[in-house]
């Protein structure tokens, strides 16, 4: 079991699994703490994190944001990140939770 594998899995409330690059996931402070802290929590062993309170739709958008951020981190000319107003509130809560 490689502790530095390239991909991590994020699981939503409904059981949907999103496999993303480790580097992208580390955009979230919470996930970063989980995976890189000194302890070996269950999560870091399996490289999988479950979020029973975040729905699939929101998690999908969050993952999209991770990629967006990694892609445009060091540029000045950045395209807009589209957020549908209906999910804005839940997205805000999730972002607050995840520190991203």
């Amino acid at each position: 079991m490689a502790s530095e594998s390239d991909y991590v899995t994020l699981v939503s409330a409904e059981g949907f699994e999103f496999v993303i690059e480790r580097q992208c996931a580390l955009m979230s402070g919470t996930i970063k703490a989980m995976l890189t802290g000194p302890a070996s929590y269950a999560e870091s062993k399996e490289n999988t994190v479950t979020f029973p309170e975040i729905s699939t739709r929101i998690l999908e958008k969050v993952v999209e944001y991770f990629h967006y951020k990694v892609r445009w981190s060091h540029s000045s000319e950045v395209p807009e990140f589209k957020i549908e107003p209906e999910i804005a509130l839940e997205l805000l809560m999730a972002a607050n939770f995840l520190d991203t």
């Binding site: 703490a33 802290g37 302890a39 999560e43 107003p85 939770f97 520190d99």
Partner: protein
């Protein structure tokens, strides 16, 4: 969404499933967190789900139970520190420092994990209420209840000082242990470190070196003492950088204290020592020792001044001997030669032992001015000597002597001219 897609209109749905306000909820949540933290303390964190614990903390803060959570955490950490203190206090002295080091290390680790779980609280509740973040609070609690507890605090200090003294006396000690312990004290706060360790350390160092200096000054000659002192200073500087968390030149005063004890207080005694003091060193051309003396004395204020005074005294004495001796009155060239000889000797010493210090050179010239003018016939002698040199030069030119001969005469003329400058 339910309404039709009218341009610009949208519906924000109410949050699905607002959790029922459960008055027992905070206690249940806290129970879960408490159990988890206890597991962490027992090094058993592998089974835990970070996400669940983080979410629990998050929910508590979200529902305005941040206060409750914070104070409970604080209490739990205090209890834990007290437990740890019990264990540490019971260990015997030889094992104490090791035990403290291990306990501290483990505690820091657990604390980091606890902090990670409670990061949401740190970010929101702590910031909003200006409390200390969890990690810092944990360190503080540990410090108060364990390291500073009456049974442990003094023992740590005494053991540390004892180890340092042993090393000074030449024994081999575990430097790593010293370093870890001082690092721990430093982690708990600069104030803690300064009070609990630095100050007693400087005091004990002063005492140690005072005794050492007195012992050495009785037992050894000046050059020997200087060598030992230099060695001690280097040793101490090395020790401080390698295993203490103090800077050698820092405001704690360790450097100035040691220098004052070893050098400052003994300067006068060193200069006038029978048979090995400054006069002896100058006469015997002991450049190496003179240089060392200069370097060491320079570290203390007023040091070089003392050397300068002693030098001036000696030069004046020598010069006066030449100027007032009867036989020199009949031999002007010899008279001037001797004076030049003295000047050369001291120029050489100043350049090689005293780093060509301008103050020393000036002092030398002043002394020369004084004794050259003591003899009213000095000007006469000097001109006679120059005359003799010039005549020698002409002879050399006429006799096709080697160029170096001529140069030599030039140099002699130059030096005699220097003597002229001292006349008034």
């Amino acid at each position: 969404m339910s309404q039709g897609p009218r341009k610009g209109a949208f519906v924000i749905h109410a949050f699905k499933s607002a959790p029922p306000k459960d008055s027992d909820m905070p206690h249940k949540h806290w129970g879960k967190l408490r159990d988890a933290i206890m597991q962490i303390f027992n090094e058993n964190a592998g089974e835990l789900s970070f996400e669940e614990l983080y979410r629990t903390g998050y929910n508590m803060v979200l529902h305005k139970f941040g206060d409750f959570l914070y104070s409970n955490v604080e209490n739990l950490l205090t209890e834990r520190s007290k437990e740890l203190c019990e264990v540490v206090a019971k260990t015997p002295d030889e094992m104490l420092l090791q035990e403290v080091k291990k306990t501290w290390h483990d505690h820091k680790r657990s604390l980091t994990m606890v902090r990670d779980i409670l990061m949401y609280m740190d970010r929101t509740y702590v910031k909003q209420n200006q409390k200390r973040p969890v990690f810092e609070m944990g360190l503080n609690v540990f410090c108060q209840n364990c390291t500073r507890s009456p049974r442990v605090k003094d023992r740590i200090k005494n053991l540390l000082l004892q180890l340092i003294q042993q090393e000074r006396d030449g024994e081999k000690v575990d430097r790593n242990l010293i370093r870890c312990t001082t690092q721990m004290l430093l982690d708990m706060g600069k104030v803690v470190y300064a009070e609990d360790f630095e100050r007693p350390f400087v005091e004990s160092s002063q005492h140690y070196y005072m005794v050492e200096a007195q012992r050495l000054i009785q037992a050894s000659s000046t050059p020997e003492y200087l060598r030992r002192a230099e060695q001690r200073l280097n040793e101490e500087a090395d020790r401080v950088t390698a295993c203490l968390s103090t800077e050698w030149g820092s405001g704690s005063g360790i450097r100035s204290t040691v220098e004052a004890e070893l050098v400052g207080k003994q300067m006068e005694a060193l200069l006038v020592k029978e048979g090995s003091g400054i006069v002896h060193l100058l006469e015997e051309d002991k450049l190496e020792d003179l240089r060392r003396m200069f370097e060491l004395f320079s570290r203390v204020s007023g040091g070089p001044q003392l050397i300068e005074d002693a030098l001036a005294d000696r030069v004046s004495q020598q010069g006066r001997e030449v100027v007032e001796s009867a036989e020199n009155q009949t031999d002007p060239v010899g008279y001037v030669k001797k004076l030049i000889g003295i000047k050369d000797q001291y120029d050489y010493i100043i350049r090689h032992a005293f780093r060509d210090d301008k103050a020393f050179t000036n002092r030398l010239h002043k002394s020369f001015e004084v004794f050259v003018n003591l003899n009213a016939r000095s000007p006469e002698y000097i001109s006679l000597a120059m005359d003799a040199h010039l005549r020698g030069q002409r002879k050399a030119a006429a006799g096709a002597a080697a160029a170096s001969d001529e140069q030599q005469v030039e140099v002699q003329l130059e030096k005699a001219l220097q003597m002229f400058r001292f006349l008034q």
